[in-house]
Each structure stands twice: as structure tokens, then as C-alpha cells.
Symmetry: C2
Subunit: 84 residues, 2 copies
């Protein structure tokens, strides 16, 4: 089995209103040392070991479903797990 | 400056309806090798180097704001960056 972690974040050039809101909330709680917050999505995906092109599968899914490639960027890590 | 990455995910015992929906959508697209999808939140946080207890700050923010500790769990990585 493959265990894949996918991180989807806004491109640096795109405003992140959710991150901005979190930053403001953090400041209201009194944590003034926080300078910047960006928020993104995180996926943990299990892929069958029968898939012989995991990278291609993951990229296709990210492009089509998980990320809006106009505004977001993604990166992923693939780890092969022992079968139990 | 400190650069902190925070990952917030549902506890394993908690149903993840968003992940379930993503899995179904992926299957409709024809990627049948995907066995499981769990969805979480991802934060990139910049903390001032003046903060002498970054870990405590981050844990407090996670507990109070970023994660619902009843249903979610979080982990984080702190990296110290060179000042520019």
C-alpha cells in the first residue's frame, strides 16, 4: 500500500482570507508574536499497491479535484508501506 | 524567525465526511486504486524570533483556535529561519 500526504496551499501571490482571519483571531487572543498565518488543505490518501503509476494518479487527482490550479499549488509525499 | 507547520486531522475514531466525499468523487473519476482519503487542515505560521516559548505559543493556539481537541488531533514542526 502507498500512503500519500498531499498539501494544498494558495499561491503566494493569492490573498488568503482564511489565514488572515486566523491571524486576527490569534492576535485578539494576545499572541502578538504571530506574524503571518496561511491556511491550506491537507489530505492523507491510501493507494492500492496494485497501482503502478501512483505519482501520475496523485497528480491527476490533485489537478482535477483537490486543488484549483489557478489559485492553488500542491505538493505531495509518497511512502510505500509494508503489506500487513 | 520561526516557521511552523501545523497539521490538524480528525482523530481516527471520528468519521471524516469530507474525506469520504472526496473518495467518492475520486472513484467517479475512475481512480479505483484510491482506498481511503482523510482530509485535514494545514497551517503555515510565521512566529517572531522574539518569542522565547514558540512551542507553548503554538500549542496554545492549536488548543484554543486551530483544532477542536474533542474531535481533532494536531501535530506541528518548528523550523528556525535565518533573519534576513
Amino acid at each position: 500500500m502507498y500512503f500519500v500526504k498531499v498539501y494544498v496551499t494558495y499561491k503566494d501571490s493569492v490573498l488568503d482570507p482564511q489565514g488572515e482571519a486566523v491571524k486576527n483571531a490569534v492576535h485578539r487572543l494576545g499572541y502578538d508574536s504571530i506574524e503571518e498565518v496561511r491556511m491550506g488543505k491537507y489530505f492523507e490518501i491510501q493507494v492500492s499497491s496494485k497501482d503502478e503509476s501512483v505519482e501520475e494518479t496523485i497528480e491527476a487527482i490533485c489537478d482535477q479535484l483537490l486543488a484549483n490550479v489557478n489559485m492553488e499549488t500542491y505538493r505531495y509525499e509518497i511512502k510505500q508501506l509494508e503489506e500487513r
